[in-house]
């Protein structure tokens, strides 16, 4: 249960290798969360047998490393096989998480792929596949998650959107369009859950320096996963519906929306 000061006991991370997602979980565990479920595509899928799948994972798998680190911090960690592109399995993923952690106080939906715009334009099939993860996967996982949160009468679904979805740009519109769809979906889901005790929090980070953006020169007002996690946890405490990270991106993007199209399309990135 979320306590009077906004700390939580249990968290499910959909996208168990996401750097931002893991930073959020890490922060929640340091704050007192004791039960963690990391849902990720496991190297060798052994449905329902976490131990077996764990053994099969490589020593440098980020989900495994995170699990070990979180256990050192005192959390009980379970790994669950999760494939964003198989919506028919998403209900079972939520059920498995509930089975091992009980009520889910926070569900972080952090899975996604960035990809390269030029490559998407060269290979439209790969572009569609990325949208299936970045948007389609979130629709089924988000609806299954919401169903559970509604049943238990409490809990927050944290959806990792992006400023890229606030207004799509020439330089990354495939990714941006998927995030725009996700952002709208998450807002609608939040409204649908109003009055149920469950909530949705939409997180819009700017450029996050990390594994996903390796090799790319940081954009202005860039941030790091730990800072996003800090902003998310603050938002969870206050019950925010939307979190911009860093917060100053909010006024910046409010203005960006009004930038004339001829100027907007010339933005280099």
């Amino acid at each position: 249960m979320r306590n009077a000061l906004g700390s939580v006991d249990s968290v499910l991370l959909l996208g168990g290798r996401s750097e931002i997602g893991l930073a959020i979980v890490d922060r929640l565990v340091r704050d007192g969360a004791r039960r963690v479920v990391l849902a990720a595509r496991l190297p060798v899928a052994v449905p329902g047998a976490d131990g077996g799948a764990e053994n099969a994972a490589g020593p440098h798998d980020p989900a495994q490393e995170a699990a070990a680190r979180l256990r050192e911090l005192g959390a009980e960690v379970t790994l669950v096989d999760f494939d964003a592109t198989r919506p028919e399995t998403h209900g079972q993923v939520i059920d498995a998480a509930v089975k091992s952690a009980g009520d889910l106080d926070v569900i972080v939906a952090a899975f996604g792929v960035l990809g390269d715009q030029a490559a998407y334009e060269a290979d439209p099939v790969s572009a569609a596949a990325s949208v299936a993860v970045n948007f389609g996967g979130h629709v089924s996982a988000g609806l299954f998650a919401a169903r559970r949160l509604r049943e238990q009468g409490h809990g927050t679904l944290v959806v990792l959107s992006s400023v890229a979805g606030v207004r799509t740009r020439r330089a990354n519109f495939v990714y941006g369009a998927a995030k725009a769809g996700l952002d709208g979906f998450a807002q609608g889901l939040g409204d649908a859950l109003h009055g149920s005790g469950a909530r949705v929090m939409v997180v819009r980070p700017g450029f996050v320096i990390g594994r996903m953006t390796k090799g790319m020169p940081p954009a202005p007002m860039s941030t790091i996963p730990a800072q996003v996690a800090e902003d998310v946890v603050k938002g969870l405490r206050s019950g925010a519906e939307t979190v911009w990270s860093p917060p100053k991106l909010r006024p910046v993007f409010t203005l960006m929306r009004f930038l004339p199209r001829p100027l907007w399309r010339r933005l280099p990135r």
């Binding site: 249960m1 306590n3 009077a4 704050d31 009468g153 009055g195």
Partner: protein, 494 residues
């Protein structure tokens, strides 16, 4: 659906325990349930005539609201029917919602508003033993008993708690150092358990002591019998004394509190340096008839109708400045004196303001109450000095010396010192600081009060409550499937 929903709202079958009262020469009474209507302070919806509806509930601290189906039973049979049709998210009883945290909330489940049941009570004038229905408030009980020359054996700082809630929390009062907590005065309990049976328990039953202090997780308390104390008057003769600092406070309390039935210290937490822990001690005894002025009605008990706090207050109204100003004024005004007071202002000063919890603003507040055993005063000093050093805003910090505890497995009191503070929820660094205190308290062999708690973690509970496993075993034997659940139970893995 349920059996009781089909019945007209106004009907209520007589409960057998009360029907023989007159024949036995007992005084008795029965009134309709009235309290929720008068005091909807923390129940957002006011549709109180409905028997079942969804609503968001919080504790008195107004933090962490969760939705539940609130049902309003009328009879003990209704309680049994409710248990039989318990949803998977479970059932928990709720009285007047004075527990500060999430003890009477049940996210996604059912919450039973026992104040909907008619108030019923009987008094055996020969022994002073009172039997009262669980939903009856101590306020109503006192209005019935005080004019007859009887007072409840234990009263917490508010009259607006129900008998059932008082049992579930094993409440204590200003007389704990001599008289222990409510559990010590209980003669029997009627409990509706998970299998729908109505059991009458006595102190010889393990389940009795799992229920006293058991936070409602063993079943629905339907009624309780306890021994009251005879009083000559409805007044208290009170000694007020100020102390210089914390050591002085502890010294005076330890040295003199056995001379008074009721004692408590109010601590100025914002006083620093050499004045840290300065306090106002209030000690009292039931006044004798000869202490009253001639012509006064000795047993009059009619607490004035209540002022109401404004429906809304800004967050941060209680801040370092306003609380410091209040503390200075209060300390300055509390010169040494001896006065004769009415029961209500002595025991329940805050009850004169309805909904005073709203003054903390929309973010609500946290009450932190711990006890450390005698001999662990160093831990108490460490906590007071940290609070004072950090300038933590706490309105109404209360210190009390506890005497012997009860056999209640999850009862809070133990011989030692208890400190209770109210802290606005928005203060920076509060979560971390309180967690640090939790650790100190557990290490000292102390514990937190579950009826006040809204934020502790499950991991320290076994250290604080060494009989937790024993309690769980008994609870599991009467409620193997977890019919009785609350947000508190989920948060603390109870």
């Amino acid at each position: 659906m349920s059996t009781y929903l089909d019945r007209p709202e106004e009907s209520s079958a007589p409960v057998d325990a009360f029907s023989g009262a007159e024949a036995a020469g007992h005084v008795y009474g029965e009134t309709g349930a009235t309290l929720t209507a008068a005091d909807p302070a923390n129940v957002r919806a006011h549709r109180i005539r409905e028997l079942r509806y969804m609503t968001f509930l919080t504790g008195w601290g107004r933090t962490a609201p969760t939705p539940a189906t609130l049902v309003r039973p009328r009879t003990v049979e209704d309680l049994a029917a409710l248990v039989a049709e318990a949803p998977t998210r479970g059932v928990i009883a709720r009285g007047l919602g004075r527990a500060y945290g999430d003890a009477a909330q049940n996210a996604g489940g059912t919450v039973v508003d026992v104040t909907a049941m008619p108030d019923r009570w009987t008094l055996d004038p020969a022994t002073g033993v009172v039997t009262a229905s669980a939903g009856m408030s101590l306020d109503a009980l006192m209005r019935a008993l005080v004019p007859l020359g009887w007072f409840v054996p234990v009263t917490p700082g508010t009259r607006y708690v129900t008998v059932g809630g008082a049992v579930a929390a094993d409440v204590h009062g200003k007389n704990h150092h001599l008289d222990s907590s409510l559990g010590a005065h209980l003669r029997s309990l009627t409990l509706v358990t998970a299998d729908g049976t109505v059991r009458v328990l006595t102190p010889d039953d393990d389940l009795f002591w799992a229920t006293v202090g058991g936070m409602g997780l063993t079943g629905l308390v339907a009624e309780a019998s306890f021994a009251c104390v005879p009083i000559e008057t409805s007044r208290v003769s009170v000694d007020v004394e100020r102390t210089r600092d914390l050591d002085h406070t502890l010294e005076v309390m330890a040295a003199t509190d056995d001379r008074y039935r009721y004692t408590v210290a109010w601590i100025d937490l914002l006083a620093r340096g050499p004045r840290m822990g300065r306090s106002v001690l209030t000690r009292g005894d039931h006044a004798r008839r000869d202490e009253l002025p001639a012509g006064a009605d000795p047993l009059a008990f009619a607490p004035a109708s209540r002022l109401a706090a404004p429906p809304w207050a800004p967050n941060g109204l209680l801040n370092r400045l306003t609380v410091r100003a209040f503390n200075e004024a209060w300390y300055a005004k509390s010169r040494e004196r001896r006065v004769v007071q009415h029961l209500a202002p002595f025991f329940h000063p805050l009850d004169s303001v309805a909904g005073w919890n709203r003054v903390y603003g929309s973010r609500g507040f946290v009450q932190y109450q711990f006890v450390v055993p005698s001999g662990e005063e160093a831990t108490l000093r460490r906590i007071v000095s940290r609070l004072s050093g950090r300038g933590v805003v706490s309105f109404l910090t209360v210190l009390k010396r506890f005497g012997a505890g009860t056999p209640g497995m999850l009862s809070f009191p133990m011989p030692g010192w208890t400190l209770a503070l109210d802290i606005p929820a928005g203060q920076d660094g509060l979560a971390g600081m309180l967690r640090e205190f939790d650790g100190w308290v557990a290490t000292a062999g102390g514990r937190l009060y579950l009826a006040k708690d809204s934020r502790m973690r499950a991991d320290l509970l076994p250290a604080m409550y060494p009989r937790l496993d024993e309690w769980r075993k008994i609870r599991d034997s009467v409620d193997p499937t977890g019919v009785f659940r609350s947000d508190l139970a989920r948060r603390l893995d109870l």
